[in-house]
Amino acid sequence: MTELLRKLDRWQQLRTFKIAATIAVVLLAIIAVVFQVVSSQRAAQQLPTAAMPEAPAKIENAPPPANPTEVAILAQQEQQRRDLELTVRLLNELRAARLSSTSVYTGIVSLAAVSLIVIWLGLALTYVAIVAVGGLIAGPILAVGLSGRAFILSAEALSQLGWFMVGGLILAAAFTALVRAMGAVLSGSHPITAIAKNVLAEAVRMKISLVFIVLLIMLMASLPGLLDASTPLRYRVQTFLQYATAGSFTLIAMLAIFLGTASVCFEQRDKIIWQTATKPVRAWEYVAGKWLGVSAVCLILLSVCGLGVYMFTEYLRQQPAIGEVAAFEPRNPQEVLTEDRLILEYRILVGRTSELFTLTGETTTAISAAVETKFADAERIYREETAKTAEPPDRNKIIKQVREEMLGQYLAIESGKSELYTFTYLEGALRVGKPITFRYVVNAGGNLPSDVYRITIWPKNQPPMIREVHLGEAMTMTMPASFIDAETGSLELRIYNGDLANGILNPQTISFPPDGLEISFPVTGFAANYTRVAFVNAIKLMFLSMIGVVCGTFLAFPVANLVAFGIFICAESAPFLKDAVDNMRVEEVDGSIIWWAWIAEKIALPIAGAFRFYGDLKPVGNLVEGKLLPTIDITGAAVILLGLTVGLFAIGSAIFRSRELATYSGQ
């Protein structure tokens, strides 16, 4: 059987076979296009467009209403109008794209192109086998499950199993294609590419690394089945993105370290290195080849997972959200876009950038004045003190102290009162024209979970909006970009501590943390943001691959793994470590040192500092929140990580060159 498979594999790689298969695919594509042309001419389609329901007129420069009931009515009307304006255009665009015959042609051409690539990668029969397995095993299981009938397993379990198998086969097909393509890329007559290609072969043929790959594919294929269909669509998307992206990255990172160390360590242990080291291969070429090979494996897996995640997310996007009868079709005919859909489209499946509030000129002047006063007082006290036991006043310290104090005052609102917060540099949001998101965290008293406060958010020249808030939790609300002042690019929000419309006041003063008021707006789509996340993960994996390879050059496999995994864990947990150390008490109340804490701090701080650039990136967290990974952060981290990779590469090469690769055979 194995011999037969090997023969088939060689057969599908023959040029004659490829040419014949290419002709077949091209003919099929031509037939499909002709068929589409004929059918599209027969049925000229009318693209349905969403009608704009009647909406209340926009209130221009309306003075703040004195009557609370009037405020509430205005707020409700404005909310309806805003929703309509924002979504009708998008909806029609989406429908048009889905029903366009151009997309059919694109589909045919894409399918033909993919088929040709598969054929010329020498995988035509492999894919036929995959399709056959899918059709003969996964297909019937899925069909029975979807029809609602139970057979041994429940219908739901059967459909989940069917999807799991289909997903696994698709991922396996993508994986084999990418492996073959990478093999072709690395087929040059150079030691570096030769060694890299060898690592690739090692990864897909050795059971140890195959375990990781199979686990990864199973994880990715099983995740969709774990999503709860009763939850809002946005949560399903967020859950899937969170687990799929973070889970796949963690598994691939483990594989990078494991494969990197194993490939180098086992080659030395099994003395295979003797054959390579006695060939004209320089030490740096060997290390570079190993790193390139491990990185190539990681990139392949990252691409497979990335494609899987992206495509399944897009699939989820086409599922009905809460309140929809079908995707983008609300159950309520008066509604154009449900809240679930709105949040999904404008807050999650986008790349948003954010701005914190800006201190007004008055506040800044007040801070400066307070600083001067306080500094002068401190100096006077110091001069008057004859003993001079205290240190002279530190201006920077005073500035920091005053700023914190005044900021605290500025971010606190007494019950029944209000404060104005200004957000600037929002020109980008105006250009994009998509809804902006206001995120706020309200604290009051002890932030009891049972307490629900009501606040009024009143944008300048717009009607006020009343919101119920859970204390200590991040809340969000969506506003149209038109709320932003087109001239200044700023948005002014007045926040009342209470329900202004109904005259309800909160019992205590509310406050916001310094980063608790934020305006964010989409600047890119989900695809662009996901690409950035994938890029960051790729850089991280390349760094981890080098750590694995370098550890393998001078350590035995178990030790090399331990060291490499230790570095990985330190790097991933650097932000947590920093927070933990910041909140750790090193001194008792009486001033005596807690030694264990002191030692832990001395160890943890350098580690947290060294890997902060790595941990602070948080690509998955940003992706799930729909936040754009800032270009400057990506560039900075990429430069640092690549620099470190090069540094490690130099160290590994030097170690490898100086090592005695043979051992005492008399041992």
Binding site: R6, R10, G188, S189, H190, P191, T193, A194, K197, N198, A201, E202, R205, M206, D270, K271, I272, W274, Q275, T276, A277, T278, K279, P280, V281, R282, E660, L661, A662, Y664, S665, G666
Partner: protein
């Protein structure tokens, strides 16, 4: 791939010719001779290697003040029992180990120099191969490390696979190979770059008798092409058949050094091989020997066929009957590029620009002083050798002409005796892998 006896004899011509030359007294000796004027290809001077433990305490002195040279074009043997330091010396020559003291130069450069490694082929004492690659991929991989073009790699891979008899199983992963098959692919990878210097550590270990003979034939063929070969082994019969010169190591030190003849010739005995004799003839011969020399015949025996020859002939018959095998085939021919056939582009240019590698020296003269007493031979052989026995110069002349004509050297004594012994007939001082030995 069974090499027939004629081919074996031909392939033995190089070293044996050199040995014949040595036996006349004008040979390489222990360092002199025609090649001594050339720069040594490998120079090992006062080489010492001490292995240390984790705490840098001396654990074992594997090599102790070893000095020798390997000259271009010779087949050099490193002999010694297990643990004598052979492999350590080789590993230092390849840069896999660093010497504690002394100096090693290969092609005049340190062993770690990458330029040096381009010209070396190495077969370790065991074939350490990637288990997940098949034979073709293995050779392709090592070819890439030498930056060989795809076309060259493909051609050489095909030829080498054919040569080592693994063409039929080339797509099976190496981990499924038997030890002997792995050894064959190991040997093939050592030859992928058509090396000038071939370093083989126990090359016949794990091979069947046919494989062993093939390796020996190959070594002699490469030797004829002017390749330099360093051979490490404790299988003395293998070494004896091939090498020009050797050192014998024990305890990390050189115990003996010299050519095979210098180390192996027994100067107090003569061996005469004829067809089957009856008891009366034997008694008559003994009488003549006693009469002429006062010595008795020590032993008279009926020689048995060598098991190796028997084995080879059985396999050859099986091959002729086209019996299938799942293992290595034994009817492969030496790869063309190793014989100098169908040269690569670069080689072709080089060959056009300069003369091809000089052939190994063949016997310039037959033994003049050594060998059996001519008058005794005369009395034993009758009139057919009378003319030859007339003068040693005439003998030498004829022997040289014979050697040049047939490119074999074991015919010297036969021609002296005037009998028509076949290719299996032995000689008094030399043996071939395929030849008999009285």
């Amino acid at each position: 791939m069974v090499a027939n006896n004629n081919e074996s004899n031909r392939s033995a011509a190089g070293p044996k010719a050199a040995q014949l030359a040595n036996s006349t007294g004008n040979s390489m000796g222990t360092g002199s001779g025609p090649q001594s004027a050339q720069e040594p290809l490998i120079a090992v001077q006062a080489l010492t290697k001490t292995f240390k433990d984790f705490w840098l305490r001396s654990r074992a002195k594997a090599v102790d003040n070893v000095t020798f040279e390997v000259r271009p074009g010779e087949i050099f043997g490193l002999l010694g029992p297990n643990g004598s330091g052979k492999s350590t010396v080789i590993k230092i020559m390849l840069g896999l180990l660093k010497q504690t003291a002394g100096r090693v130069a290969v092609f005049g450069k340190p062993p770690s120099d990458v330029a040096v490694k381009k010209r070396i082929g190495y077969l370790p004492e065991e074939s350490y191969l990637y288990p997940f690659l098949n034979a073709r991929e293995t050779l392709d991989y090592y070819g890439k490390l030498f930056k060989l073009d795809r076309a060259v790699r493909t051609r050489r891979t095909d030829e080498l696979l054919d040569m080592v008899g693994l063409s039929a199983v080339q797509y099976r992963p190496v981990r499924e190979y038997s030890k002997g098959m792995q050894r064959r692919i190991g040997l093939a990878q050592a030859l992928i770059n058509d090396p000038e210097l071939l370093i083989l550590d126990e090359p016949t270990s794990g091979l069947d008798p046919i494989g062993t003979r093939q390796v020996k034939d190959l070594l002699m063929e490469l030797g004829r092409r002017g390749k330099t070969i360093v051979l490490s082994s404790h299988l003395l019969a293998d070494v004896e058949d091939c090498v020009d010169r050797m050192v014998i190591l024990y305890g990390g030190k050189i115990q003996e050094e010299g050519t095979c003849d210098e180390l192996l010739d027994a100067h107090d005995r003569s061996v005469i091989e004829t067809g089957m004799l009856d008891d009366a003839t034997i008694a008559e011969i003994e009488r003549i020997v006693k009469l002429r020399t006062g010595k008795s015949i020590v032993s008279v025996s009926k020689p048995r066929q060598k098991l190796e020859d028997k084995f080879v002939s059985i396999v050859q018959r099986a091959i002729d009957r086209k019996i299938e095998t799942a293992g290595a085939r034994h009817d492969g021919k030496t790869a063309g590029f190793l014989k100098g056939d169908a040269p690569d582009g670069q080689q072709l240019i080089e060959q056009l620009l300069k003369a091809d590698v000089a052939p190994r020296p063949v016997a310039a003269a037959a033994p003049a002083t050594a060998g059996p007493d001519a008058s005794l031979l005369s009395s034993l052989s009758g009139p057919s050798v009378t003319e030859i026995a007339a003068g040693k110069a005439e003998v030498a002349k004829q022997a040289a002409a014979e050697a040049a004509k047939a490119n074999v050297d074991d015919s010297v004594i036969s021609s002296l005796l005037g009998n028509s012994a076949g290719p299996n007939s032995g000689s008094t001082s030399n043996k071939t892998p395929g030849g008999g030995n009285a």
